[in-house]
Structures are given as structure tokens and as C-alpha cells.
Symmetry: C3
């Protein structure tokens, strides 16, 4: 059992956050990797947000300034994308738009680790990753096998707290239990299902939903907790209704779109 | 009730167009945004067309010349893509290949609005967009929230007629009712379902199907009407068979692939 | 009936290969086209492999060296991608990482045909394509309609054998029957279903699964046969359980993820 305070879907503040996303359909600016673009758009639509994948260097600054939240995910970043991604982070910080950094595979590959580390200068509101990624971004040896973590989320909590304290970001470590911390307070979000690791992009789309939540919930820790709790709940229900990894992905969208809030 | 002549799926000329797409499997050259590439390919395959996403500047001119129809969608255009997209439009015009322009989020973002406007020089056969996009492309204030329209399709009909008259393109305004006009004749296509706006890429893939239809139906107004009517019909059936947004997308492809023509 | 020795899913060595993929979850480095990226990741996850789409020129060499297998697919290659793709092929050869070349639409378009031909210098372990692509890569007139073959797989077997003998690669020709040859031995893999050609990316993801198989099976001919036989079996079952092209794709992933090995 976790030593941290637990929150799950049944908490009224989480339902309230989802209700607010649906009421306001916050414009969510998504710069993510090419593997999960379609899936992420469909996850945000199912949640009730309004996703827009604006990636041109010529457009990202204006768009990050008017969006309700921004996601920056370095999963398939190239030198071409890097310019736009930095511009978006700078514009989000300047405009006060909350933004989420997802340092996919940080630690496993030097180029993206350096970019993700540089992006910390632009003060992400939330950092979301698996244990290996969070450890790597914090400067610890993260390990990681490609895009998968080789560490458990519980093993990264202490480092996550330090990273949060040092950067001013809320840090969300995804795993069998999600740990979300602002350096002082740490919340454990249990739930979910192993199938969530057998469909590509579930973690990436969680980062996007945090960005949508940040648009309607100013308490950053709560926003990240709400998105994680929604995912844990939906993942567990969808797993029961599915016959394999293909129908799990379909059911995940169905259940998210039908979730009573 | 619309003041315009209505057409729906049951019209024999629409069934005939779909039958022709299936018989000829027209090679459809798709330059679209990274969010909907996979979905668009699967929609065209379900309809019986032969999609090919050829995007390299080195290849687009040759391919646009041999394709039966071309779709150009600026949804995630960058400065790198812009060169290939212009080359494709120029080659399509030169070769007499019909082509569809989808000015995604025109009006909301300056860079793509300028590119979409410039593309009008190469005489798109059909322009397809939501009301905000059509208004913006016509030079009117389009509004638009990211990729979503803030205007109703009925509010854009008069401007769409002017845009059609001025550019020589058929203009298809998507919405609760689709309005399709060549500047003189205007057809209203009712049908569809709200779920079509809760899955990413439905409108984008309609543009692609119009390109496939143009390969087999020389009457451009009819080609755009046929594609819209097929989508309206399939969307309505799929909505009845689905349990949420995920299964709606799956059912949409199932119903399209099974549609008797 | 084929004059070649046939192998299907029921062969114990094929079950053993799949079991090994699931046990080791080989890190599979995928450089593929933008149409099928998500689908390919989900296919590899359903098979039990660990896919990673690493595409930056700055990262591909390091990653190809540590991966268990690499897929290079030229389906939507641009001049930007070409640099990374060549670097990945060179690094794979140097590190001794087995790699698969999928020359999508070779023959139909000159630019990619030249690139695919140049990639032969870096000694692909396996070449997988449809008949038109294999014929074109071998220097024969391949035909091809966009990404679709205009020749039958049986018509390309002799040329495939020559290509294998000349390049040192195993050549896998996909079609109604798959033919897989190292120039001396040729195996026919029947099975599959016509629906596999109505969903985008089935062939492309087969190339990816071959790369995963190569990570655990040093006999290259056997690795390619095992992947093809798994696909043929899963495709046939999924077709029975589906109601159209949309649910076929979902069932394909379900059945692959549930396949007893």
C-alpha cells in the first residue's frame, strides 16, 4: 500500500474537472510524436476537449498564446520539429499558457534528452513521463528500453519530488500506480490496467489530457491528478469490455466518451 | 427546411458514382495532415478507391499527373510540406487532374490562410471546408476555434456562392447540412450525425473521397454531392451501431465498406 | 498448387518464434511511412515486441546499433527522411543488426526507387514487398498502381530468387500466397484474406514483424516465414470475426494479441 494519499475517479473534484472540460471544450495545442497524433486527437475529442495539432514554426507561437493548454511531446522529434517545439514552449511561457512536457525516451537517447532538458528553461507546468524518463530528466541514470521504462514508478517518486522542487513543475510519474507531486504534496493514483501498455500512445495521450485539464483547473496538481484518475478508471472498464489490444483501444475511446461527469 | 434542392444517398446518380469508384478504384493522390493520414487511407479503401500518400517534392508532380484525383489538405502544413503541396497543385492543374483543396483552420492561423489563398491560383476543382474556413478563404471574417467552425454552414452559403463564382471551383461547406455550390446551382445534403465531429478526420476524409469521385464523375458538383451524401448516410447508420466515439469510427469504416451500390 | 514447400502457422518452429518474441520483447527500430506508424506500433505490441519509432538523423545510428532489428520502409520518404534512413541502414549493417527493407511503390516512382536501390548497398537482411515492388527493385519492369501491385506474387518468384542471390538478402514477396526465398530455398506461405488489402499498412507491418522476428531467430528465411505465417493465420481468423474493414483491423490486433504460442 502506498504511503501517499490516494485519489481515484470517485473523488468529486475529479468529476468536476471532467465536467468543466466538457463544458468549455478547451482548445488544446498538441505538438506530439507521429505515432500517436491520431489517437491523441481522438482521446481529447472523447474527453470533450478541442484538440489542434499545430506544428509549423510559423504558427506555433500565435497558437500557444491563444490555446488553453499546450502539450509538447518529444517522441519523434527531429531537428526540423525542434525549432517549432522550442518556439511553442517559449510562447506558452510568455503568454502564461499552461504547458505539459512529455520527455519520451529521455535517457535512452542523447539528442532528445538534451532537448527535453533545455525545455525545462521554459518552465513546463507539468512534466509527465514514466519512471525511466523522469529519472533521466532529473539527471539520474534512468535506464529505459526504447520508449519503455525499466524502473517502477515507485522507484522514481523521491527523484520526482526533487525535480518538481527544482523546476517548479508538477511531476507526474506514470506506472502501475501514478505518482503526482509538486515537491511538497504527493498523490498516488492507482487503477488502470496492463492493457494500457499494450496499445501505443496511452501515456502520450494522458499528457495531452493533462494539458486540457490545466485549461480549466488552475490547481496544477489537481489537474494532473484528475487526468490520471480519469485514465485509470476508463482503462479498467475498457479492459473488461475488450477481447484483445485492438478492441481495448476502441473501448477506451467509447468509455471515455460515455463517462458520466 | 432548406430553400435549396436536397439530395441524399437514395438518389440513383449517387449510387452510380459509388459503384463507379468501386469498379475503377481510382488512384487518389493524398497530401493531407499527419493527424488523419491513416484514417483517410482506410476511408478511401473502404469506399473502393486506391489511395496513395505521396508527399515528397521529388515525386508529387509526376504522381499528381497520373492520379485520378488529388487532395491537398493544409491541416498540419509546414514550410517543408508547402513546397511539395504547391508543386502538386501546379502539376494537377497542368495535367488536368481534378483536385480538392481543404483549407483546414484557414482564418484561425495566418500562415496557412496565406498558403491556402495562394493555392487558389492553381484552380482547385473543389474547395471543401467548414463554414469558418470557407468564410476565411473568401476573405470574410471566418472566426473558427482551432480546427472547429464557429459559424453554421447555412451562414456561409452566400459567401460560398461568391467564392465559387470567383474561383471557378465548386465549394462544399460541411456542417449539419452540407451545402455544395458551383455559384449557380446549390445543393443541400442533409444527414450525418453529431458523432462525425467527435472523431478526428471525418471532414478531411470527405475531401479525399471527393477527389476519388472526381476521378470517375466529370460533373464536379455531382461528384462533391455524391461524396457528401455517402458520408451522411454512412455516418447516420454507423451512429446507430456504435457505443461511443471509438466504435463509431470502426462502424463508419464497416458500413462504408459494406454499402450496397 | 504451389511447386514450393509450404509452411503455415501450425508448424512448431513458427509457434516457437512467436513465443520467443513474446519472451524477449525485442526492441524493434521502425522507420516507416506516416500512414502506418500508429498501426505498426500496435501490431508489434500485439505480437509482444517492443517497437520504437526513432527517426531523427541525430538518433538513428545509435538506436539501430542497440535495437534487435530495424525496419526501413520508404512509403512516404522525403529528402529530409532520406538522410536518417540511410544513416540507420549504415549503422545497422555496421553493428550487425538485422534489418528489413520495404521498398513501397518502387517502380511506380523514380525518387524512391533510386533510394531503395541505393539502400541495397547496406545489405538488408530481408527485403519485403509486393510483386511489383520486388520486380522493380530487381531492375525488372515492375508496373504497380500507386502502392498496389499489378503483378501476382507467383510471377515474381524467379526474379525474387535472383534478387536474393545477388544481394544476399532473403526476399519475401507478399501476395495471395507469400513466397520467401534466399535464392536457394523457397517457401510458400498460403493463408491470409483479401481484407488484408483493404486496410492500410498490413504489408508494412508485416515488414516490421519480420524485423522483430530477426531479433530472436538467426535463420533469416525462417524469421520471414514465421512472420508471414502468423499474419496469414491471424488475417484469416480476423476476417471471420469482422463485419467490414474497420472491425477487421480491430480483430486483427485482438487475434494477434491473443494468439496462443
Amino acid at each position: 500500500m502506498s504511503v501517499y494519499k490516494e485519489k481515484t475517479w470517485s473523488a468529486p473534484e475529479i468529476l468536476a474537472d471532467l465536467k468543466e472540460v466538457r463544458a468549455k471544450a478547451p482548445l488544446t495545442h498538441v505538438l506530439t510524436n507521429i505515432v500517436v497524433t491520431n489517437w491523441t486527437a481522438n482521446v481529447l475529442l472523447a474527453a470533450g476537449a478541442s484538440p489542434a495539432m499545430v506544428i509549423a514554426e510559423e504558427e506555433v507561437s500565435d497558437f500557444a498564446a491563444i490555446a488553453g493548454g499546450v502539450l509538447i511531446n518529444v517522441g519523434t522529434i527531429t531537428s526540423f520539429d525542434a525549432k517549432a517545439i522550442k518556439a511553442a514552449a517559449i510562447a506558452a511561457q510568455k503568454a502564461g499558457t499552461p504547458w505539459v512536457l512529455d520527455p519520451v525516451a529521455a535517457g535512452a537517447l542523447r539528442y532528445r534528452t538534451e532537448i527535453a532538458t533545455e525545455l525545462l528553461n521554459y518552465k513546463p507546468t507539468v512534466i509527465r513521463g514514466n519512471a525511466s524518463e523522469v529519472l533521466a530528466l532529473a539527471g539520474a541514470s534512468g535506464g529505459g528500453k526504447g520508449v519503455d521504462s525499466t524502473a517502477k514508478s515507485s522507484e522514481a517518486v523521491d527523484i520526482a519530488k526533487e525535480l518538481a522542487a527544482r523546476t517548479g513543475a508538477v511531476v507526474a510519474v506514470s506506472g502501475e500506480i501514478d505518482y503526482i507531486t509538486d515537491g511538497k504534496e504527493t498523490i498516488a493514483v492507482p487503477g488502470g490496467h496492463i492493457l494500457m501498455t499494450k496499445v501505443t500512445g496511452v501515456g502520450c495521450s494522458l499528457g495531452a489530457l493533462i494539458a486540457s485539464m490545466l485549461a480549466v483547473q488552475k490547481d496544477r496538481l489537481q489537474a494532473a491528478v484528475s487526468a490520471s484518475a480519469v485514465f485509470g478508471h476508463v482503462g479498467a472498464i475498457a479492459a473488461k469490455k475488450s477481447q484483445g489490444t485492438g478492441s481495448f483501444a476502441v473501448s477506451f475511446l467509447d468509455e471515455l466518451s460515455n463517462l458520466a461527469s
